[in-house]
């Protein structure tokens, strides 16, 4: 009885706001990211890639006879031996995101700073959220800079300014890229909570990424074969199988990212049907879609990317809240 009474006197819910101290954590973590040697190396890597692929793309565009959506072609044109810039992004984005987050939490434990920081009047929420947002903002800063660099090179190289539609599409592309990074960052951050050793967390993150990049297609192929009847009788059955394969493939963030960027950067791609993505290169039929229709086409992809980011963050959040501070 006495205890019950005692409990009633103090408020049941936590006092104050979980955002207390978020700004301080955010500022400190962003400063760390932007000045770290790790980030410097990654920035050099991505700037070199951007300049290289865009230079190659410029030459390709000049020799080709196309006149529409020149700026978007800067991102998508591949010229032997270099792949297109978006091809590079497919693995550079996860690499950068993982590199920024794989030691986010376990490093605080290993340096023994965690108890000192959490002994300050902030909640764990602020620490985790601050670290995540700092990573996301850093990613946004880096990719915005690259984006501007590519546009700048484009203006110099092509001699024409980008149209409004091109700019809008490229901005959406930037947004998709950042959230694609968000997925890998929240994954790496969750691993950094699960694994005590940063090396293990980094390996686990890379392994997950490799799984989705290299092995997922094989897994999908195997699964589809399981469902395949001994003989395909009708076109309908064949279509169903193809649809199943496509749906399974879309569990991989890489597929979502690839499809979303293709739709955004190639307005003439009019559907994400069964023909995707292998036959896209030759899909020249019809006139380009307006931006709004392209967005409708990739809206599920966008929400999927953001939802997975949030989901992974929540998993990490719950694990971190339950973690004993004592090493």
């Amino acid at each position: 009885m006495a205890r019950l009474h005692e409990r009633e006197r103090t408020p049941r819910e936590r006092e104050g706001s979980p955002w207390t101290g978020l700004g301080a954590v955010l500022a400190k973590e962003m400063a760390d990211h932007l000045t770290s040697a790790r980030m410097f190396i990654l920035e050099i890597l991505i700037v070199l890639t951007a300049v290289g692929t865009v230079y190659a793309a410029l030459q390709g565009i000049r020799s080709g006879g196309q006149t529409k959506f020149l700026f978007l072609r800067l991102f998508t044109t591949a010229r032997e031996p270099l792949p297109a810039f978006i091809g590079f992004l497919g693995f550079l984005v996860p690499l950068i995101a993982i590199a920024m987050a794989f030691d986010a939490i376990n490093d605080e434990f290993n340096r023994r700073t965690i108890s000192r920081v959490l002994a300050q009047p902030i909640y764990r929420d602020a620490l985790l959220m601050g670290k995540f947002l700092a990573g996301l903002f850093t990613l946004a800063v880096v990719f915005s800079a690259i984006w501007l660099l590519i546009f700048g090179l484009g203006i110099l190289g092509l001699g024409v300014p980008p149209t409004g539609e091109e700019t809008a599409r490229a901005l959406w592309f930037l947004l998709v890229t950042i959230f694609y990074g968000g997925i890998w960052m929240s994954l790496a951050m969750t691993y950094s909570i699960i694994f005590r050793s940063p090396a293990t967390a980094a390996l686990a993150s890379i392994a997950t990424w490799l799984f989705f990049t290299v092995f997922w297609d094989m897994v999908v192929g195997l699964v589809v074969r399981l469902f395949q009847p001994a003989q395909v009788f009708s076109l309908e059955q064949a279509l169903q199988l193809a649809q199943l394969e496509l749906n399974l493939a879309r569990f991989s963030p890489n597929t979502l990212f690839a499809e979303a960027t293709i739709i955004l950067l190639r307005p003439s791609v009019r559907s994400l049907g069964i023909v995707l993505p292998i036959q896209l290169d030759r899909a020249l039929l019809g006139s380009p879609l307006p931006l709004s229709q392209s967005l409708v086409l990739i809206w599920p992809h966008l929400t999927g990317l953001i939802a997975v980011t949030i989901l992974l963050f929540v998993v990490g959040y719950v694990l971190f809240q339950r973690r004993e501070i004592r090493a």
Partner: protein, 316 residues
Amino acid sequence: MSETVIETRNLTKKYGDFVAVDNLNLRIQKGEVFGLLGPNGAGKTTTLLMLLGLSEPTAGEVRVLGLDPARQPLSVKARVGYLPDQIGFYDDLTARENLIYIAKLNGIPRHEIPGRVDDVLARVGLSDVADHRVRTFSRGMRQRLGLADVLIKRPQLIIMDEPTQGLDPELAQQFLRMIRDLKEEEITILISSHLLDQVQAVCDRVGLFHRGRMVLEGTVPELGRKVLGGAYRIRLRARGKEDAILEALQSLPGAVRAQRAASDLYEIEAESDVRSEAAAAVVKAGGKLFALDIEAQNLNDIYARYFEEVKHGPVA
């Protein structure tokens, strides 16, 4: 009038079946320096973390400055400074940057931060190296920076976990002097340590911790009386008739025990300081007094003796 700063009632923490802290009842008054002493693994750090709301109690009540750390963690942590054992800093940042970060987390107004940082750095004697990276700091400097880190929020209560561990004796003394200075500012201090003799010097009261339980609590002389029997140990060197001297010493009022330790060395355990009476008794018994010495209470002795008794008793 005294104010209770820390109060726990039947505080218990279990990790699975293992009981880390077992029904702890603790009261610490304002301005006190309290030493939580015990071997490693006795549950000291767990207790400290529960006081800070960094670990949730399995059962029992905690009040720190009248607040519940589990429900009002921000208010508690804004008023309480915590110096963890083996304190870690961001090595790539300077001492100043580390302190600024902590100041910001405490919500100290922006314009006050530079002044406060300079103040605390000067206080712990690190002003010269304020802009050096913490990577280059020695163990002693880190520990002092840790103290600065705690002081920047101007706490009412400071909780220190093994503050002198890993420091050489001189640095440890220096650090303890800083703690004594804090006491003069009416800051309540709770120190956990297994280095008894170092902590003995600064603590008003101590509690001995063993297997999650507070087995003894009180001032050092009180504990001495409880465990060693006599609170005062007097050694004297005298020559003369040994039996007569011993008898005289044994019959001193207040003497619990008197014995001959060596040929002309006698030891008395007494409830009070009976040095002058002992001297008089020796002379009266026809002995010549050469030396008279009182031994300060030693926590190590108390501790060793206590656990010796526990081991032989039914508790173990």
